[in-house]
Symmetry: C2
Subunit: 145 residues, 2 copies
DNA sequence: CAACTATATATAGCACGGCAATATATTCGG
DNA sequence: CCGAATATATTGCCGTGCTATATATAGTTG
């Protein structure tokens, strides 16, 4: 709790794709499901969700259909294969990002008293390398921020 | 590597504050130091850094002075107490954010084969709660995304 | 039964953050 | 001597997420 909305920028599409991974959902259900599963921390607004879903649909990452039960119609969304690939890629990206930030913040955990360092490094690379010039050490295909 | 720039949004101020925690730095030094310490992954551009520094200065989170050695003058930045407090708060926020996202992504690690789940949960709360209505369970002072 | 809240989807416009581009000036290496 | 690296700064653009608004139905409460 108590964190800036700006942090979530760039990971919202990943959150939405993640909700769909366990099966088809309709829009409003994604809102409540995300809020519930995050213990009320991630409360995406409708005006944020629907544009994301429409973009995913346009890019064929989800297939959709209407459940017209008379009255409050629901639009259902399910991952396509392209959507699953996108989810995998986005998730991998996020873990790379989180590991990098965590590595940079690691020295702080000792000197400052951070209340809840709930995320810990698993011991895998990227390793906590010293101040070497890393530009030259990087694999050629890696993309920057 | 290979991750979207949008992910870094909202955590850049934290990165900059983090660089200053180990001592005073001048602007250009922050660029190279961040790039180096992140193994070339976080390459903030000058057009991004200086506005952040100016904002921090304006908010009295850093104190500054010029090193006028004739010619290429350097502007040095050092954390104030307010800056340290800001750093602590931002870092705590980030760990909350990362723990939350990680909790939401946890089911994926089993079903999809994510290449490098380098960030692992430390076992601390927030716990992997089931689909309860969490809205009611939250402490009153917590802020949402 | 009326009013309000929750369910359900959609879109236009705004705010803000980070980047590209540009400007200026000095120092170092080839 | 000229280009690259060092060093700081600003303007304008673009993408993302939110606010506000619109529409419609179902349930709940006074």
């Amino acid at each position: 709790m108590t964190f800036d909305r700006e942090l979530l920028r760039g990971s919202l599409e990943l959150m939405v794709l993640g909700e769909l991974q366990s099966g088809a959902r309709y829009g409003y259900q994604i809102l409540t499901s995300l809020s519930s599963r995050s213990c009320g921390r991630v409360n995406i607004k409708a005006g944020t969700l629907y544009p994301i879903l429409h973009k995913l649909e346009q890019e064929s990452c989800v297939r959709t259909w209407w459940d017209e039960q008379g009255g409050r119609d629901r639009k259902w969304y399910a991952l396509t294969e392209a959507g699953e690939a996108r989810l995998r890629r986005n998730a991998t990206e996020w873990f790379d990002y989180a590991a990098t930030v965590q590595m940079l913040l690691a020295p702080l955990l000792d000197s400052l008293s951070i209340a809840r360092p709930v995320v810990a490094d698993s011991g895998q690379p990227p390793a906590r390398l010293p101040q070497v010039d890393a530009q030259a050490l990087r694999p050629p295909n890696s993309r920057d921020f």
